[in-house]
């Protein structure tokens, strides 16, 4: 009886794991086999042509724009906010409020961010459907990620570093940028990498704020489409699974590289710690 029950559970465990792995292998395999024929130098670096056969260079550039702009804004703000929470703030109502806000922002679905961005950045601030409007929306999306990872890495900096530095007659600010932030850097970096992944994977919020123009953006005030949005649109509009899968390969490779560098950095972090 007991043995049979054990056996049943064991089968379920193996079965589930097998199913999960099979499905995931199938997804990646499918996208790869559907799309790999399109991958070429011209596909990556070529200009888009609506008639087909064009490349995805404008979408790559647009994606890079959104990453760079949102991180340029979100990283300093996020680090400063985390520094405030960990190094300056006294526990109390204000800290609880900020923590609540940060956690709530994490839980809001991206379509709501899109709604907000479409009205606030696009209409109210008159930025129009543009890369900048999308990037500002993305800034709010990744802000909590950067705050949380930075806070976590500040927590790992030994308290004795702070004492040692302050006891030498330095200010908190000096201690911060000479000792604490350098020690917390690997953690902050992995937060940034996580954010890049989030930006690359984002679609709904960008769809509603950057629009869908499939051409090389002339400036950050142009409407444009990112890789992910492109992959969505070619599927929805023309059912071009091959093209969508080719873009998918590029996306998966980007995520793979990001994951590998995050692993590399965290390994380095562990080594640096004595």
């Amino acid at each position: 009886m007991r043995k049979q029950k054990d056996k049943l559970y064991r089968t379920l465990l193996w079965g589930s794991a097998f199913l999960t792995v099979a499905i995931l292998v199938m997804i990646v395999g499918y996208i790869f086999f559907k799309g790999y024929r399109l991958i070429s130098f011209d596909f990556i670096f070529g200009d888009y042509s609506p008639a087909g056969g064009g490349g995805i260079w404008p979408m790559i550039i647009t994606t890079i724009y959104t990453i760079v702009i949102s991180l340029l804004i979100a990283t300093p703000i996020g680090i400063c906010a985390a520094v405030y929470m960990q190094e300056y703030a006294k526990q109390g109502r204000l800290v609880n409020l900020i923590r609540f806000a940060t956690e709530s922002l994490t839980g809001i679905p991206s379509i709501i961010y899109g709604l907000f961005g479409a009205v606030f950045f696009v209409t109210t601030l008159k930025l129009g459907m543009s890369i900048i409007a999308a990037s500002l929306t993305l800034t709010i999306i990744v802000l909590p990620v950067i705050i949380r990872t930075t806070e976590e890495s500040l927590k790992t900096v030994p308290h004795s570093y702070r004492e040692g530095s302050l006891a030498l007659g330095t200010t908190k600010l000096q201690t911060l940028y000479k000792v604490i932030l350098p020690s917390a850097m690997p953690g902050i970096l992995s937060g940034i990498i996580l954010s890049i992944g989030r930006i690359v994977g984002e679609s709904a919020a960008i769809f509603l704020t950057a629009g869908t123009v499939a051409a090389m953006p002339s400036s950050i005030f142009s409407s444009a489409r990112t890789l992910t949005v492109h992959s969505f649109l070619v599927t929805q509009e023309s059912g071009d699974i091959e093209l969508a899968s080719a873009v998918g390969i590029v996306l998966i490779v980007i995520i793979l590289v990001l994951n590998l560098s995050a692993t590399f950095i965290s390994k380095k972090l562990n080594k640096a710690d004595f």
Partner: protein, 270 residues
């Protein structure tokens, strides 16, 4: 206020009279609270220039807390409240808001070596650089003289650019002392500086303290009573946040006037 009480405590020799020695630190009626909880009870004592003063007592007696009031490290903890006076060179350090100036004058060495993850050179030069010294020549001189002052120059002079974290525990602690010396302080506070070290390293640090006495006023918290007896000129015995007895070290260890001091140093508790 019960003036009688103060008198009794004075008679109990928490203030050692030494007319021919300069008083460097003078503490009067110091109370310290962590929130509601009182940790120090009206501490009054004088610490003399160019002497080693040891603070001994069981764990949690307030000796480390007291040490940290001398360079205001307790300010870092939320909810600490202090009443009374601490005068260093006749200036009340809790009246001034210039903590930077205080901490450049009062250096500190911690229980566990807490070098930064930088090179040996950068660790020692850290404090002076933060004071705005940029001249390479000047920094080199400071680093060398500080390392010599901490009796570790010969051991590390060939690898100043190597990470300080690669050194042994004893070496690291002496670099910490060099880092404190580099600020040219008057006073050096040491919070159980040898408790994490092996006996040989401990001996080296103790010899160093002996030598440093002529240039600095040293206050050292120690768990190790032999250490207090070996290195200090005066000893204060702390118990439950009070100074039970404060006197010349030889007297404390040979004929303590308080029964509790005797019980502690003969190992009956603690």
């Amino acid at each position: 206020m019960n003036t009688n009480g103060i008198k009794v405590r004075m008679n109990n020799s928490t203030l050692v009279q030494e007319p021919n020695k300069e008083v460097k630190i003078s503490v009067r009626d110091l109370d310290l609270f962590y929130g509601e909880k009182q940790a120090l009870y009206s501490i009054s004592l004088d610490i003399h220039e160019n002497e080693v003063t040891a603070l001994i007592g069981p764990s949690g007696c307030g000796k480390s807390t007291f040490l940290r009031t001398l360079n205001r490290m307790n300010d870092l903890i939320d909810g600490v409240k202090i009443t009374g006076n601490i005068m260093i060179d006749q200036e009340d350090i809790y009246k001034s808001t210039d903590v930077i100036n205080l901490r450049t004058k009062v250096g500190m060495v911690f229980q566990k070596a807490n070098l930064f993850p930088m090179s040996i050179y950068d660790n020692v030069a850290y404090g002076p650089r933060m004071q705005g010294i940029k001249n390479k020549q000047e920094l080199n001189e400071i680093v060398e003289s500080s390392l010599r002052g901490a009796a570790i120059w010969d051991e590390v002079k060939d690898r100043l650019k190597h990470s300080a974290l690669g050194l042994s525990g004893g070496q690291q602690q002496r670099i910490c002392i060099a880092r404190a010396i580099a600020m040219k302080p008057d006073i050096i506070l040491m919070d159980e500086p040898t408790s994490a070290l092996d006996p040989i390293s401990t001996l080296k640090v103790e010899e160093l303290i002996e030598k440093m006495k002529k240039d600095y006023t040293i206050v050292i918290v120690t768990h190790n009573m032999q250490q207090a007896a070996r290195v200090s000129d005066k000893t204060a015995f702390f118990l439950s946040g009070e100074v039970v007895e404060y006197d010349v070290t030889g007297k404390i260890f040979s004929m303590p006037s308080d029964q509790r001091t005797e019980d502690y140093i003969t190992g009956r508790f603690g």
